[in-house]
Symmetry: D3
Subunit: 295 residues, 6 copies
C-alpha cells in the first residue's frame, strides 16, 4: 500500500472534514489542500439513493466555496465505484410520479430530471479540479458522474457500463452529453449507449476515457492523491482559471473561447502568484516551496 | 460463414423488403426488426449514380417511419463498399451546370449540393441506429456516407480515402463536417483531407473511426447483424431517444443538451418500457424475452 | 539526411524568401509552392520575444496573400522547437503593465493578450495548410503555436509541456481552446494543463496530437516537406477550400457547416481545376503533371 | 376598386395557376412574375383543416422552384383572413392521438407538431418575398402564418389574436418564436400571448407588426399587388439573395451574418443583373425596362 | 380608487402571504392565484440593500414552486418604484472588496456580481408571468429589475433612468443584456445607457418598453391586478409553457425554438386543460368558469 | 447657428486632428475628448471611393487607440450625408474582378467584400461611442455605415434608402445584418430592402432608426456635439465598458451576456472612477467637475 493511500486510509475513519457530514458520502481531508470524497454506501454497492442526489450538490457547493481546498479526489468505498441509481429507493419518484394529468406528471418529471442533472453538474461548476479514481463496477449513473470529473484514473478490474437503455430509458443525467466530448471514438460511444455492453479498463484507456490504469485500488488512490497534491502545489489562480476556461471553451467556438480568456486574464494576470512563481523559477527554487494565498 | 450472414445471404435474393424497391439499393429484412440496406451496383463498384442520391432519401425516410424497424445495417454488395460518386453518370450535372450567368449557375449548384447532402443527412435524421459494415474500398462519397452512420465495423482489407481534393474540389457532402467530430485526431483528419492518401483498417481502428475490425466480410456482417439484433431487443423508446439526444448534444454545449434531454424525457419516462424492463430485471428474466410496443 | 532536407539545408542560408525578412523568423522557399518558416533564435532556444509576436503576424498575413504559396512547414532552428515565451524580454509588459488603476491596467493587458492570441490565430486564418515539424522541446507557448497548425509531425525526442500553470497563470494564447479540439482524450488534456507534466512523443502520438513520429529531425523534415509537396501538387482551390471549411465546421453544428459548405462550393465547383483533374484522371495521367492556376 | 385588384378579381375565377390545384387554397397568377395565394374556404372562415396543412407545403415548395415567380401575395377569400385551426377537422389528431403509452403518444404528437410547423416554415424557406394582405380576423394559427411572411399589410378592420392559451395550449407552430423577432415591444408580445386579447389594426401598426394599414380590402390588395410588382421588376438575384441573407442574419450574430454574406455574394456579384442595372442607371432608363433572366 | 386596488390596499396590511416573510419585500395574496410582491422600504425609496438581493431570490424561488400561484404583480411601496442600489448599505462589498491581490479581489467581485444577477434572473426562471407596475422613479437597478419582468405597466409620472455610468461603472445586473431585447430602438438604448438621461413615461411607451401608461398608481395597480386575474383564469399549463418557450426562443434561432417547442408540447398537449377549454368553448361557457388543476 | 456648431465650423478649416490626414475624410477635434469625423468629398456627394474604404479603417483604428478621445460624431460635409458607393471609382474592382476562372474571381471578390465590411465594422470595434449626424441623402452604403454607429440623429430633410437591390445585388456590407437588429419593425425592414424605396425622417424616427430629428443641420450638429460632450464627461471605463458589453450581448443569449459582463466587471469595478463618482455624488458636486484618467 502506497504511503499516501495508507495515510488516507488510517485517517479516513476518524476524520470527517469539517462541515461535511452526509449519509451517502464521506468527505475526508487528504494531504494539505485536498479533499477526498467517497461514495459511502459500500453495503449497497454505492447505489445512488435520494440522499446522494441531494448531498452531492451540498457537498460540491461547499467545496466550491472552500478557499482552502485546491483539488478533490472522488472514489467509491468498498468493492466498487458505484452500481448506479438505487432503483428501490427511487422507484416511487420515477415509476409513480405525481400529477393530475400527463402534462402535470411531465412537468414534475422535468423538474426531477433537472435536479438530478445538477447533482453531477456541480462537479463542473466547482472550480477545483476533480479526479475520479474508479475501481470495480462503474455502472449507469456512475458513468454520468465520472464524465463530469476532470481527470479519470482506474484500476485494472474496472468495468464501465452505460446501462440506461437496459432499464428502458435514454440516459438523462449527463452521459449522452459529456461522454462524446470526453473521448475520441464516436462509433464506440454509440455502441456503448445502444447496447449497454461492458467496457473493460484497457479499452477504456485506449478509447481516451482515462488517463491511466493501475493494478489495484491502493496504487490508484496513491497516484490520484499524488496527482491532486501536485496540482494543489500550484497557483490556485492559475489552476482554477484553467478549469473554468477549459470548460467554457469546450462548449464554444475557438474565437469565443479566446475572447473570454483574454477578458478573464486581464485581471488574473495581476496576481502575485505570477511574481512568486517567476521569482522561484529565477532562483531555481522548488516550485512546491512557494506559498500562494487562498482562493 | 456465420449463421446470420448465411441466412441473410440466402434470404437476400428472394426477399426485398416490402415497399423498398430501388435501382441502386437492395433492402432486405434481416432478423426481426432489422433491415439490411445494400449499395447494390456491384458491377459498378457501387458508384453513386443519380438514382442512388434520390433513392437513399426515399429509403431512409421510409425506414424512419417504419414502426417495425429498430436497427439498420448498411453494406456494399460485391467486392467493395463503394468507389464513391459515379463521375460518368453525374458529369452533366456537375461539369455542365444550368444557368444563364455565374450567379444562376451558382444558385443551381447550391441547390444540387444541398440535395446531395440530404442523401446522407437522412441517415442521421432516421432515429433507428444505423451500422455501417464496410469491406474493401470506401472512397470519396463513401466516407461521407459512413461518417453519417452511428457505428462503423470493417474488414481487415478495408481502405478509406477522402478523395475529393484529387478531383479538384473540397468534399461537400459531409466528410469535412462529420469526420472531425467522429475521430479524435485532427492532425490525421487534415492529413487525410489534404493528401487523399489511403488509410487502412488498422489505422482507422486506432484513430477511432471504427468500433471493430474483422478478418472477412462474413464475420463482419454476422457481427453487425448480431449487434443490430442486440439493439433491436431493447426498448425502442430508449434506443431511439438515445440516438436523437446524442446527435442533438453533438452540436451544442453540454448545458443545452441537458436542458433538451430533460424536456425530452419528461414524457418518455412515462413509457411502459421502463416498467417492463424493471420487472424483467427484478424477476431475473432474460431482457430479450420482453416485448415492447412498436415505435 | 534525406534529399529534400539536404536541399533545404543547403538552400536555407543563402535564400531568404522575398519579402520575408525578420529578426526572429527565417522564411525560405523549399520546393515549388512551399515555404519553410523557422523559429530562428536557436541560441535563445527559440524563445518567443517581442519581435516574434509581431513578426509571426506579418509573416503569415503575407503568406495568406501569396498566390504562389500552397503549403507551409514550420520548424525550429537549432536544438529544439521552442522553449516558449521569452520571460526576460516580455517581463516589462507582463509584470509591470501600464495604467493608472486596476481597470486601466486590465484594459491594457486585455489588449496585449488579444494581440498575442492573434500571433497564432494567423496560422488558422491563412488558408494554406501549415505543417508543424517539432523536435526537442515544445514548451508553453510552443504548444499554443502547434495546436493552431493543421498537421503535426515530431521526432522521437520531442517533449511537449503545457507550462503556463507553473508560471502562475492559465494559458491564454490558444492551448486551452485548441488542444481539447485537437486530441480525443480530455482526461489527458486536463492532466497536462493542471500539472504541467511533460508528454513524450509516443504518448503524444497515441493521444492523437500527432500524425507521425520520426527517429530524427532530418527524416521528419524530409517527410514534412514531402507531405507539403504532395499537398502543393493538388488543386489550390480544393485544398484551401478544405482548410477553410474544416475550421468553419470545427466551431459549429454539422448542419451549419453543411449550409456554409454548399454556399462556398456553389462558386468553387465552377473552377477549371475540376475539369483538369477529371481529365487527367480519365487519361490516367499523373496528377502531379496538372498545372493549376495560382490562388 | 383599384385596377389591379379588379383585374385580379375578374381573373381569379377562371385562372388557377398551372400546377396549383388545391382544396383549401386558390393560387392565381396576378401580374407578371406574381402569384396570389388565397386561403380559400370562405364559408369556413378559412379555418385550417387537414388539407390546408398539407397543401401549404406543397404550394410553397412548388413556388420555391418556380423560376418564373418573383413575389407572392397571400390573402384570405371571403370575410376574413383566417379564423385559425379548424378544431372540428383536427380534433381526432389532437385530442385522440395514436399510441400505446404516453411515450408513444408523445412521439406521435411531436411528429405532428413538426409537420404543422413546416406548413409555415415553407414560407420562409421559399426565397421569393411573400406579402401577407390581411383583412378581418386573423386568429390563432393565422398569426403563426403571417409572422412567417416577409411584409404585412392590413385593412382597418383587421383583428389579430394569439388565441392558443384560450384553448389550453402554448402556441406551437411559430408565433412564440417569430412574433418577438418581428416587432419591437416585448411587453406587448407577452401580454398578447398570455391574455389572448384582440389587437386592432392601429395598435398592430404602431407596434411594428405591419408596414401599412388600408381602409378596405380592395385598396389593400391593390397596394400589395403593386408592391409585389415593384419587387418583381428588380433583379431576382438581388431580391432573393436579400431574403435569404436577412433570414440567415436574423438568427445569428452580426459577424456570422457578414461572413455568410461575403461567401454568398462572391458568386452572386458575378451576375449579369448588375451590369444590366448599372447600364440602365447610366443611360437613365427606367429600371423596369430591364429584363432579367429567370431564377 | 379601483375596486381591486382598494381591496388590495385594505388587505395588504393584515395579510402577508404564507411563507413569505421578508425585511425588504412585502408579499400579499391578491385575487385568487395571484401574488403581489412589493419592494417595501418606502422610507428608503425602495433602495436595494443586502437583504433585498438575497430575499428576491428566496421569494421568486418559492413562487416558482407554488402550485397555487399563477401570476405575479411587482410594485413599489410608497412614493416610487425604486431608487436603485442602496450605495450606503452595499459600499463595503463594492468599494472595499476582499482579497489578497487583484486576482483574488476580482474573483470575489465576479462571485458577487453573479449573485446579484441571479436576483433578477429568478424572475425569468419563475414560470409564472410577472407584471411590473411602476410609479415614480425607476432608477439604476430598478431598470435591471423591470426588464426581467414579462409585462410592464407604469403611471404617467414614471421616470426611467439607466444610472450606472454616472456611478462610474457599466450596468452589470441585466440592463445591458435585456433592455435591447425588450425595446425596438437601439439608438435610444445606447443613448440612455451612455448618458444616464431620464426617460419619461410617454417616451418609454412609444419606444416599446411598456404596454400601457395610467394616470395614477391606483388605476395602474387595478389594471395590473385585473391583467393578472385574466391570466390566472387561463390554463396554467398553457400560460407557463408560453412563458418558458418565449424566453427559450428569445435567445435562439427560430428553428431551435421550434424544435424545442415541439419537444415541449409533445407532452403538454396531453393535458386535460385542452379538453376542458375546448368543451367550454363548444358549450359557449365563460372560460373563467373552467377549473384547471394546480401546476 | 448653435454655438458648438459655429465653433466647430470655424475651427474645422484650420485644425485637422493630429495624425488624421486623409483624402476622403476630415477629422477635427471638437470639444475636449471629442473628435468630429466628416465624410469629406462634398463635390462628389460624399460618394465612397477607394480611398474612403481604406481610410475609414485607418481612422477608426487610430481613434480606438487614442486614449484622449471619448466620443465621436460622424457627419457629411456639404449637401448630404452620403450618396453611397462611388460606382465610377469602384467599377473596375466590382465589374472586372481579377481571376483565371469563376472560383478564383469568387475568391478575389470574397476578399474584397470582407475588406469593405471591415470599413464599417471598425466603428463597432472602436470602444468609443459613435454618433451619426445625418442630413440630406443617406443612400446605399450610407445606410450600412449609420447602422454600425451607436446613436443616430438626423435633420428633417434626411432621406434613407437601402439602394443595393436597384443595382442588382444584395447589400453586403452590413445593412442586412444590422438594420433588423437596430429597429423594431421587420415588415418595414424587408419592404425597404426589397423595394429600395425612400424613407423620410419622420418614418425613420417612428420606426426606431433614430433617437431624434432636428429642423436643420446646425441644430443637429450642435445637439450631437452636446450629446458627445455629455458622454465625454462620464467615466471612460464606464462608457466604453457599456459599449463593448451592449455589442457583445446583442449577438448572444442573455445568460451568455451576463456571464461575460460579470467577468468583464470583476476588474473594471476596481477602477478609481467609481470612487471619484461616488464621492462627487456624496458631496453633491457637478459630475462634470470630476477628472477621470485617460483610457
Amino acid at each position: 500500500m502506497g504511503s499516501a493511500a495508507q495515510e488516507q486510509a488510517s485517517r479516513a475513519a476518524p476524520c470527517e472534514a469539517s462541515g461535511h457530514s452526509y449519509e451517502s458520502l464521506l468527505v475526508t481531508p487528504a494531504e494539505k489542500h485536498i479533499l477526498h470524497v467517497q461514495l459511502n454506501r459500500p453495503d449497497k454497492r454505492n447505489a445512488m439513493n435520494k440522499a446522494f442526489w441531494r448531498e452531492m450538490v451540498e457537498c460540491f457547493n461547499k467545496i466550491a466555496q472552500d478557499s482552502d481546498c485546491r483539488a478533490v479526489v472522488i472514489s467509491g468505498a468498498g468493492k466498487m465505484f458505484s452500481s448506479g441509481i438505487d432503483l428501490m429507493d427511487m422507484a416511487s419518484n420515477l415509476l409513480q410520479p405525481e400529477g393530475d394529468d400527463v402534462a402535470r406528471i411531465s412537468w414534475y418529471l422535468r423538474d426531477l430530471i433537472s435536479r438530478f442533472q445538477e447533482t453531477f453538474s456541480v462537479i463542473e461548476k466547482c472550480p477545483k479540479p476533480v479526479i475520479a479514481a474508479i475501481h470495480g463496477n462503474c455502472i449507469g449513473a456512475g458513468v454520468d458522474l465520472i464524465t463530469a470529473c476532470d481527470i479519470r484514473y482506474c484500476t485494472q478490474d474496472a468495468v464501465f457500463q452505460v446501462k440506461e437503455v437496459d432499464v428502458g430509458l435514454a440516459a438523462d443525467v449527463g452521459t449522452l452529453q459529456r461522454l462524446p466530448k470526453v473521448i475520441g471514438n464516436q462509433s464506440l460511444v454509440n455502441e456503448l449507449a445502444f447496447t449497454c455492453r461492458k467496457m473493460m479498463a484497457d479499452e477504456a484507456l485506449s478509447s481516451g476515457l482515462l488517463s491511466r490504469v493501475f493494478p489495484d485500488k491502493e496504487l490508484m488512490l496513491d497516484s490520484a492523491l499524488a496527482l491532486a497534491a501536485e496540482i494543489a502545489s500550484k497557483s490556485p489562480v492559475a489552476v482554477q482559471s484553467t478549469k473554468i476556461n477549459l470548460l467554457y471553451s469546450r462548449d464554444r467556438p475557438v474565437a469565443e473561447g479566446l475572447n473570454y480568456m483574454a477578458t478573464w486574464n486581464m485581471s488574473m494576470l495581476q496576481t502575485q502568484d505570477i511574481v512568486k512563481s517567476v521569482q522561484a523559477m529565477m532562483e531555481k527554487k522548488d516550485a512546491k516551496s512557494v506559498t500562494f494565498s487562498k482562493l
